[in-house]
C-alpha cells in the first residue's frame, strides 16, 4: 500500500478527540510542536507510545494518534519504564506536569533518570497544580500566594535542571511552550538520544498562574533574559548580542561584551564536568539570564538495552531455557 511508505505528516498524529485544555493554555503550543517533531522523526505511529500521569498536561496522550496510556498520578515514569524495558523497539515519550513529576512522582522520576531507561520525559512546568485548580507546586517560588498558601508558600522550590543533573539523567534540556522552533530542535535532539532524557518546558497556565514566566519569556525581555546553550559557543546574549557571561571566582557574572577579553567568556561545553551545567542552571532567574537549550547529552548504554544484553548473554552461556530441565532439577528421586 502506498500509505505505508508515504511519510507521515503532522496532522497524521492528531486524534479525533476534542482537545480539552483552557483556551490560551500553553499546552496547545507544545502539542503542536510535538506533532511536528513526530512527523519529522518519521517513526511509524504504532511504534510510538505516549505515557502520562495525571494533571492538565497529562491529558496529552489523548491527542496523539499513537499508542497512549494516561496512567495515575505520579507513576508515569515507572509505567513507562515497564513499557520500554518490555519492548525496547518502541519509542516511549512521557508527558508530565511539575506536580505530577516532582511532587507525588518525584521518586519515580529521579529513579527512571538515574537508571537511564531510554525515555523522553517532557515536564510541562507551569509552577502550579492546574487540574486541581491552583495550589502551589514544588516549582512555585517562595512566597507564592495560592489557595493553599494564602500567606505565601514556605517551600523552597526545586530547580528541575539541578534535580535532573543530580539524578544522573543522560540528556537534560529546557525550552519554552511558545518558542516552537527552539522547542522542536530540543525535542529532535532528545529523540535521537539513547538514554533518559529530561526536558523541562516552561508552560503558561493562563487560568491559575498566568504570566509565571513572562519576566523571562515575554517577547520584549526574552533576548535579555534567556541564554541559549549551544555546544562550543560562547555565552553571549542580549537583544543586541551585547552581553556575555564570565566567571568571577566560582560564580558566573554578566558583563558587557564590549571590552571583555574573549578568552574570559564562558564557552558552553556539554562534555565539561557536570558541575558547569549545575552552575549555569543555578543562575538566579531574573537576575542572571535563564539558560535554555541542552544542558547535558552523554553517551552510555541505556538500562533497557543493558537488560536485554544480559538476557542475551545468559542465553548464550546457558542455552535457551527449557521447561523440562527447569522443573526436573535439583535433588530428584523416583517413587515407583
Amino acid at each position: 500500500m502506498a500509505t505505508e511508505t508515504a511519510p507521515l505528516k503532522k496532522k497524521d498524529f492528531k486524534t479525533d478527540q476534542d482537545v480539552r485544555w483552557c483556551p490560551g493554555c500553553g499546552d496547545y503550543a507544545i502539542l503542536n510542536s510535538i506533532q511536528a517533531v513526530m512527523a519529522k522523526l518519521g517513526r511509524k505511529k504504532e511504534d510510538v507510545v505516549f505515557v502520562s500521569g495525571i494533571g492538565c498536561s497529562s491529558r496529552f496522550p489523548y491527542y496523539m494518534e499513537t499508542y497512549g496510556f494516561h496512567t495515575i498520578h505520579g507513576r508515569a515514569p515507572a509505567i513507562a519504564s515497564g513499557v520500554k524495558i518490555a519492548n525496547p523497539d518502541l519509542d516511549v515519550w512521557l508527558v508530565t506536569g511539575d506536580g505530577d513529576a516532582m511532587s507525588i512522582g518525584g521518586n519515580h522520576l529521579i529513579h527512571a533518570l538515574r537508571r537511564r531507561v531510554n525515555l523522553k520525559i517532557l515536564m510541562f512546568n507551569n509552577r502550579i497544580y492546574g487540574l486541581t485548580k491552583g495550589q502551589y507546586s514544588p516549582t512555585s517560588p517562595l512566597g507564592k500566594v495560592t489557595k493553599t498558601s494564602p500567606m505565601g508558600s514556605l517551600d523552597t522550590p526545586f530547580n528541575p535542571i539541578h534535580l535532573a543533573l543530580a539524578s544522573k539523567a543522560s540528556f537534560i534540556a529546557r525550552s519554552i511552550d511558545v518558542m516552537g522552533p527552539h522547542l522542536q530542535d530540543v525535542l529532535m535532539q532528545a529523540a535521537q538520544h539513547e538514554g533518559s532524557a529530561f526536558i523541562e518546558i516552561f508552560q503558561n497556565c493562563n487560568i491559575f498562574n498566568d504570566g509565571a514566566f513572562e519576566h523571562v519569556t515575554g517577547r520584549d525581555v526574552r533576548a535579555d533574559q534567556l541564554v541559549d546553550l549551544q555546544h562550543g559557543q560562547k555565552l553571549i546574549f542580549g537583544k543586541e548580542k551585547d552581553k556575555a557571561i564570565v566567571m568571577d571566582g566560582f560564580a558566573p557574572k554578566v558583563v558587557p561584551l564590549a571590552g571583555t577579553d574573549e578568552d574570559a567568556i564562558l564557552t558552553w561545553d556539554m562534555d565539561a564536568n557536570p558541575a558547569l551545567a549545575y552552575l549555569l542552571a543555578g543562575m538566579e532567574e531574573g537576575v542572571m539570564p535563564t539558560p535554555i537549550g541542552v544542558f547535558r547529552n552523554t553517551k552510555r548504554v541505556s538500562f533497557d538495552a543493558g537488560v536485554h544484553q544480559q538476557i542475551k548473554e545468559a542465553t548464550e552461556k546457558h542455552g535457551k531455557g527449557d521447561l523440562k530441565s527447569l522443573i526436573y532439577a535439583g535433588d530428584l528421586w523416583e517413587v515407583k
Binding site: 494516561h70 509505567i79 513507562a80 518502541l90 526436573y328 528421586w333
Partner: protein, 621 residues
C-alpha cells in the same frame, strides 16, 4: 514393632517422627534441617517441614531473638503437617532450649550441646540457674553432648582456624540424628562435596564437615546414650519423580512455566520484602528464559512497571507481602480499569503494619478482595501448600491472561519457606495459555473495549501493532471505544461489566466439592490456603475415629466456585479455620447468609492438628 539391628542396637519401627533442630542463627540449623529433609525424601518418606527464622539478620549470638529453628516430620504414610510436637529436639544453646522445650512431646528426646551452658551463655538466654542442673529437663530424655569439644577433637588435624572448626558442629549433631533414625549419609556427603568442594572450591571445608558428620554418627553408635534406634519405613507415595520444593520457588517456577505456556516473555517488577524476596531473587537467575526482573525503587514502581510491561505485551507479574499490597492498591485499580492482565503475588505475613515480618498469617484476604477505592473486582486464587503453589500460580496466570484482569495469588510465609516433596508434573498436562491478539487485519473492527462474548475480556492490542493505536487510562471508559466518558449510564454499565467479567470466571473453574466426607456428615471443615495440611490431618484422624465430619478447601476466593452456598447449607455446622480474625467467614456469610463457625488463630504459627480436632469435637458433641 521392635527389633535389633546388626550392631546389636535395639531398633524400633515407627510410622513417623518429628525432629526440631534449634540453635543460634549462626549455628546452621536451616542447612542441617534441609539436609535431614533431603535425605529422608530420597529415602522415600513422606515429609513436611517448618522453618522458623529469627526476625533479625543476626540477633546477638546466644540470645532468644537469635534462635533459629527447623522442624521436619517424616513418615511411612501420607502426612500433611510438620507435626504438632517434636519427638526429638536438638538444642544447640540455652536460648534454643528455652524457647523450644515447651513444644517437645512429653518424654521426648532432647539433645543438648552441653558445652554452651557456661555462665555467659545462660545469662544471654536469661536463665538464672542452669537448666541442666534444675528440674527443667524432668520428664524428657536429655542427652547432653559436648559438641564443641567433640568437634574440635575431630578436626584437630585438619589445620583449620578455630572459627571454621566451630562452624562444623551442626554436622556432628546431624550425624547423631542420622544414626538415631538410621539414615544414610550419602546425600549429605555429596551435597558437601558439591557445595564446598566444587562450587566454592574449598574442599577442606567439605572434608571437615564430612568428618564431623561421621564422627557424630559414630559417637551415637558407640556411646550408647540412646535407648534405641528408630526406623521410619518408606511411604507409599504416588509413583513419579519428586523433588523437594519451597513455596516461593514453586511460585517462581510456576511463573516461568506460565510464561512459556503463554509464549510471552515474563516481566517481574518487584521490590524486596520479607517473605516474598526469594521469588525476585530466584527469577533474576533465569535470564536465559527471557525473564526480565526489574528491582524497582519501591512497591508502587514495582507494580507500575509491570502494568507498563503488560500494556506493552509481556506476561507481567509483581510480587510482595501485605504492606506492599497496601502500597500497590492504587495501581491495582489502574489494572482493573484498564483491564490488563497482571499476576500479583502476595506472600502473606503477620500484620497489621510491619507486624511480624518473619511469621505467617492469612490476614490479607480482605485487603486483596476489597482494599481499593470504588467497586473494584479482582479474582483471588490461594495456594494451599508449598508444592501446590506451582499449580496455583499457573491457575492465577491462566485467569489473568484469559480474562484480561489483574489476579491476586495468595500464599503465606509458611508456604513460602516450608518445603515438601513435589511430585513433578507431566509437562504435557500444563494448560495452553496462548493468547489471541488482534492484528492489523482487525483494524476495521477493533474496539479497545470491545469484549469476548464468553469471557467478556477486551482485546489485548499491543503497541507496535499497525492500525490499532488507542489510548487507555484510569478514568472511566466508554463502552467499546474506551474513550474517557462521564456519562451516568455508561458508568453503571462498565461497573456492571467489570463485576460480571470476574463473576463469569466461576463458569471456568471446578464446582465446589468436598475433599473428604459427604453432605450427610454433620460438620464441614472449610479452609483455604496453608491450613490445608492441618485440616486434612485433623479430618483424617476424626474420620478414622468414625466422626461425622467432611472437608473442603477453597482455592478460588473470588469468585467462589459454583455450588458453594448450596453445599454449605447442607451441614449442621461449617467450621472455618483461619490464621486471621475470621476474614473468610465474613465473606462467606456476606455472600451466602449462611452462618459459619469461625475458628481463628493469630499467633504467627500454623494451626496444630490437635487444635482443629478439638474444635470439631466441640460441634460434634
Amino acid at each position: 514393632m521392635n527389633s535389633e539391628n546388626n550392631d546389636g542396637h535395639q531398633v524400633e519401627t515407627i510410622k513417623q517422627a518429628t525432629i526440631r533442630f534449634a540453635g543460634d542463627s549462626g549455628d546452621g540449623m536451616q542447612i542441617t534441617g534441609t539436609q535431614f529433609t533431603n535425605t529422608s525424601a530420597i529415602f522415600g518418606n513422606d515429609l513436611a517441614t517448618f522453618p522458623d527464622y529469627p526476625a533479625e539478620i543476626r540477633a546477638p549470638a546466644g540470645t532468644i531473638p537469635g534462635v533459629s529453628g527447623f522442624q521436619v516430620r517424616f513418615s511411612s504414610f501420607d502426612i500433611h503437617t510438620p507435626g504438632d510436637q517434636p519427638d526429638v529436639l536438638i538444642a544447640m544453646n540455652p536460648a534454643a532450649l528455652k524457647t523450644n522445650l515447651k513444644d517437645l512431646k512429653p518424654g521426648g528426646i532432647v539433645i543438648i550441646n552441653s558445652d554452651n551452658f557456661e555462665k555467659g551463655d545462660l545469662q544471654k538466654a536469661k536463665y538464672e540457674v542452669s537448666p541442666l542442673e534444675d528440674s527443667t529437663l524432668d520428664g524428657y530424655r536429655a542427652v547432653k553432648v559436648p559438641l564443641n569439644k567433640l568437634t574440635k577433637e575431630t578436626l584437630k588435624d585438619h589445620g583449620l582456624g578455630p572459627k571454621v572448626v566451630m562452624r562444623c558442629k551442626n554436622f556432628f549433631a546431624l550425624g547423631i540424628v542420622y544414626w538415631l533414625y538410621q539414615r544414610p549419609m550419602e546425600t549429605t556427603i555429596s551435597y558437601l562435596d558439591r557445595e564446598f568442594g566444587q562450587k566454592k572450591k574449598r574442599p577442606e571445608i567439605a572434608a571437615a564437615n564430612i568428618a564431623v558428620l561421621k564422627a557424630g554418627y559414630n559417637y551415637a553408635d558407640i556411646t550408647g546414650e540412646f535407648q534405641s534406634q528408630y526406623e521410619v519405613p518408606k511411604a507409599k507415595l504416588t509413583p513419579g519423580t519428586y523433588r523437594n520444593i519451597q513455596g516461593n520457588m514453586a511460585v517462581g517456577l510456576g511463573l516461568i512455566a506460565a510464561s512459556l505456556q503463554a509464549k510471552l516473555p515474563l516481566f517481574l517488577g518487584s521490590y524486596p520484602i520479607t517473605p516474598a524476596t526469594d521469588i525476585l531473587q530466584q527469577l533474576a537467575a533465569y535470564k536465559n528464559f527471557g525473564v526480565v526482573t526489574f528491582q524497582a525503587e519501591d512497591e508502587i514502581a514495582g507494580i507500575c512497571s509491570a502494568i507498563g510491561a503488560s500494556f506493552a505485551g509481556s506476561f507481567a507479574v509483581t510480587t510482595t507481602s501485605g504492606p506492599g499490597i497496601a502500597l500497590k492498591s492504587e495501581a491495582m485499580n489502574l489494572a482493573v480499569m484498564t483491564e490488563l492482565p497482571l499476576v500479583i503475588v502476595n506472600v502473606q505475613r503477620g500484620g497489621p503494619s510491619t507486624g511480624m515480618p518473619t511469621k505467617t498469617e492469612q490476614s490479607d484476604l480482605l485487603q486483596c478482595l476489597y482494599g481499593r477505592n470504588g467497586d473494584s473486582p479482582i479474582p483471588v486464587v490461594a495456594s494451599c501448600s508449598s508444592s501446590e503453589a506451582f499449580d496455583a500460580t499457573i491457575e492465577a496466570s491462566r485467569i489473568a491472561l484469559k480474562y484480561m484482569t489483574p489476579v491476586v495469588l495468595l500464599t503465606d510465609g509458611y508456604i513460602a519457606n516450608g518445603a515438601e516433596p513435589w511430585l513433578l508434573p507431566d509437562l504435557d498436562t500444563l494448560p495452553n495459555l496462548e493468547v489471541n491478539r488482534p492484528t492489523e487485519a482487525d483494524k476495521e473492527t477493533y474496539q479497545p473495549y470491545g469484549r469476548d462474548e464468553t469471557t467478556l475480556a477486551r482485546p489485548w492490542a499491543v503497541p507496535g501493532t499497525p492500525g490499532l493505536q488507542h489510548r487507555i487510562g484510569g478514568l472511566e471508559k466508554e463502552d467499546l471505544s474506551g474513550n474517557v466518558c462521564y456519562d451516568p449510564s455508561n458508568h453503571q454499565k462498565m461497573t456492571d461489566l467489570r463485576m460480571e467479567k470476574v463473576e463469569r470466571i466461576a463458569n471456568d473453574i471446578p464446582e465446589f466439592s468436598l475433599m473428604a466426607g459427604s453432605t450427610d456428615d454433620k460438620v464441614l471443615v472449610l479452609g483455604w490456603g496453608s491450613t490445608l495440611g492441618a485440616i486434612t490431618a485433623a479430618v483424617e484422624e476424626l474420620r478414622t475415629a468414625g466422626r461425622s465430619v467432611a472437608q473442603a478447601h477453597l482455592r478460588h476466593l473470588n469468585p467462589f466456585p459454583k455450588g458453594l452456598a448450596e453445599t454449605l447449607a447442607k451441614f449442621d455446622h461449617v467450621i472455618v479455620p483461619e490464621m486471621n480474625k475470621g476474614q473468610l467467614s465474613l465473606v462467606l456469610q456476606g455472600k451466602t447468609c449462611i452462618q459459619v463457625e469461625s475458628f481463628t488463630k493469630v499467633t504467627g504459627l500454623p494451626f496444630m492438628t490437635n487444635e482443629i480436632i478439638a474444635k470439631v469435637n466441640e460441634y460434634l458433641g
